[in-house]
């Protein structure tokens, strides 16, 4: 059995930043386990630019952003294992993993950081009717094939879902020689960044049809066409609005789901809203010494925020390793943060006034488009933040900053509420 202070499951942006941060915070015995053949995770296939404006103050592509962190990891001499699949984690922090070289092996950790990322919602989960031919890809799978293998998965393309990966792939497929006919989006608004709609669709004359969905897929062996229809307010297709597209490929960009199967079997409590673990201000799950960060915790819009969050997770895990269970060190209660009035969830879910940062960032997402509204924070019944916003959209992560001084001194604080007003 191997022994490490901190085992990090996943060597993508979250795992890398968490590892570097844990090292900076005084822990030397760290092991990163990555299932793919290289570090960097999904960044390796995100070859477009736009990463790193917050972290490095310059626009990098995905692989370049990953390389910066990999360099830091190598410089800090942090150990990692590639092509290594974690198959089990127990509550006493025994990690079972496997790869070709080491076979099936166990690692005893003092703390664990979950950084497994997310997966794409599949055609099956979307329940799109029709045949099941070749040529139906999730946008991320197509992205890997095009950007890493140099293979073109199709020539005549329809895209369902206007998430950022779908938009980015519309441009990538176009540049590599495919014809993208249309992007259909079930919702009345796009989940992608405005910049991507302009630079990936408008630049190439690709129409975006909001409130539309795929109602049929044709083709017994390879996709030969799809039918798109307009949907009503309940997202049900409206009869008579069908439009047929002859195409050989359907790409799906319909949402990401945190990959928490390992977390669940370990006993980590999962939020039904984010599908990620419920964590406290230290990004610690209900299982003591098990932390989570990045897209396994909640799906982020920008990798820079993943890195920030992972940095915090690394720091807290290091503190846990050095100082033991934090609940023993501080008195007082965890204060729940309640998401209300359009706010779907917050990360963290609870906050401890003693343990929190001086200025503690709480991230959240909204469930709809809100214009000319306020983001408000209440301590018990008292409003302490009331910030005017022109627009808030579900596709972008939002944040509020709570002040430790304010929370510590607030009399009988029992609840924090974040809402849109």
């Amino acid at each position: 059995m191997l022994n490490y202070d901190i085992v990090i499951v996943g060597g993508g942006p979250a795992g890398l930043a968490a590892a570097v941060s844990a090292k900076e915070n005084g822990v030397d015995s760290i092991l990163v386990l990555e299932r793919d053949q290289e570090l960097g995770g999904i960044l390796n296939q995100c070859i477009h630019n736009g990463f790193g404006l917050h972290t490095f103050k310059e626009e990098l592509t995905g692989p370049e952003y990953a390389a910066r962190y990999i360099e830091q990891l190598e410089e800090a001499k942090i150990e990692y294992k590639l092509n290594t699949m974690v198959i089990d984690i127990t509550e006493d922090k025994t990690v079972t993993a496997m790869n070709r070289a080491d076979g099936l092996f166990e690692i005893q950790a003092k703390a664990i950081i979950l950084a497994m990322g997310c997966r794409e919602r599949s055609r099956g989960a979307l329940n799109i009717p029709g045949y099941r031919p070749a040529g139906i890809y999730s946008a991320g799978t197509a992205q890997r094939l095009v950007n890493m293998e140099g293979c073109l998965p199709g020539r005549e393309v329809v895209i369902l879902g206007s998430g950022d990966i779908g938009l980015i792939m519309a441009r990538r497929m176009t540049l590599e020689g495919a014809k993208v006919q249309v992007v259909a989006e079930l919702l009345p608004y796009s989940g992608g960044l405005k910049r991507n709609i302009v630079q990936c669709l408008d630049d190439f004359g690709i129409p975006l049809k909001l409130s539309h969905t795929v109602v049929d897929i044709e083709g017994k062996e390879r996709v030969s066409g799809v039918t798109i229809a307009k949907v009503d307010q309940n997202r049900k297709p409206i009869p008579g609005t069908d439009k047929h597209y002859t195409c050989d490929t359907l790409l799906l960009s319909c949402g990401l789901i945190p990959e928490n199967e390992l977390s669940t079997s370990l006993g980590v409590e999962i939020s039904p809203v984010t599908a990620g673990p419920l964590v406290n201000e230290s990004l610690e799950t209900n299982v003591e010494g098990v932390f989570a960060c990045g897209n396994v915790l909640h799906v982020h819009d920008l990798v820079d925020f993943v890195s920030q969050e992972a940095k915090a997770a690394g720091k807290h895990a290091a503190a846990y390793v050095r100082g033991g269970a934090r609940h023993l060190l501080f008195d007082g209660e965890d204060i729940p943060i309640v998401a209300e009035g359009g706010v779907r969830y917050t990360v963290p879910k609870t906050i401890h006034p003693q343990r929190m940062e001086e200025n503690h960032t709480v991230r959240f997402r909204v469930g709809d488009v809100y214009q000319n509204c306020y983001v408000s924070v209440y301590l018990n019944q008292e409003r302490v933040i009331h910030r005017k916003r022109q627009v808030i959209v579900p596709g972008e992560m939002e944040e509020v900053v709570l002040k430790q001084e304010e929370l510590k001194t607030f009399p009988n604080l029992s609840q924090i509420t974040v809402k849109i007003e």
Binding site: R100, R119, S122, P129, P153, E261
Partner: protein, 477 residues
Amino acid sequence: MYDVVIIGAGVSGCACARELSRYQLNICVLEKEEDVCCGTSKANSAIVHAGFDAKSGSLMAKLNVEGNQMMEELSRELDFPFQRNGSLVVCLHKEELPNLEELYERGIQNGVKDLRIIGREELIEMEPNISQQAVAALYAPTGGIVCPFGMNLAFAENAAVNGVEFYFYTEVVGFEKQESTWLVKTSQGDFATKYIINAAGVYADQFHNMVSSKKLHITPRRGEYCLLDHAVAEYVKHTIFQLPGKYGKGVLVTPTVHGNILVGPTADDIENREGTNTTQEGLEELTARARQTVKDLPMRQVITSFAGLRAHEDGHEFQIGEAEDAKGFIDCAGIESPGLTAAPAIGKMVAQMIKELSNAKEKTDFIAARKGILDPKTLDQEAHAALIRKQPDYGTIVCRCELVSEGEILDAIRRPLGAKSLDGVKRRTRAGMGRCQAGFCSPRTMELLARECNLPLSEITKSGGSSKLIMGRNKDS
């Protein structure tokens, strides 16, 4: 010259092939698709029926019960997943209790063992997620679940090992009767044979009607299904049927041998014999009906939906036997539910017929046992570790959702009648059958297929034919 040509490499055809391979016969199987198990056999309820449903005295009832009884031993001999989890037919309306009694009586007549009717309390204890409405149920402990691909592949591989030849992409287009033999005309040339076994699923009536004046009629009856994630594996433990009655036939909710929950099927008679598309209405109907028997069924956990076609014969009876006016042409037609259960018995019955007609002698070197693809998850930790030390390919996970290793995928490709496509790999190993539905593993599996089959990536298909996965290289236009 063959002694026997079998049309169709589905579960019936392969069961016949395997049983016949015991004899000193020259046998081949003709299949129009790229692989075995590509039609009805791949898309069904994966149930081993107890046998209370079929009409008493029918061939269906007889072969159902026989097949059910053979399943344990066969699954051990041929190494495919089978589990006797028990079936429950749930009665939701007091006034339908007599129907439940009737079903019980029929089961007894059909020779189904250990049947009993249980009350609401016992039912809820057995299945806590059963509908509040449930009043009673027929409990059949002999009901089971099986991997339909596993069983079909096991028959086929074992037949191949015992000398049966398989021809894929070989579509039968006609027959020519010569004196005492037949000429089977196909897309790949003619096959001369003494006997023909017509196990062509939804096409069996077309072939029968080419040689016989006593016509058969088969309707493709489409059934749509939804498959739920492992996350809800324990939602039900038994196969839950709804008692058919004036409120409709209901759909079943059952665990699968691989720890998913399967919901289905609908029943729509269609004309298209390739019409395996799902429909909006069908998928909605499934949810509504399944929730009648199982409360709050977590349909958010659906990972895929699919449709299969039952070969529904007008008289709803298996048509097995030599055509009266076409000597040597043996039908194995109208094999719809409980066809999967009955397959082992069908194979035996047809083999017996051919044996009697041809006076074939048994081989002395018949190999009865077949070993399936090793699933390292079934090993204990020590044996698993030893396996990876010996064969490191088992240490690389390709499909992360179902934890399928490179070693298993290579075995699937290299073994007799090995996989040639993504779906072929999927049916043999479950790679791509999990919650991400091949999103992560398909590029890796494609690479392995390309390497092993010595083909460029652009030639790898999802399911053979023109189901190519890659249409070109970047900037090649």
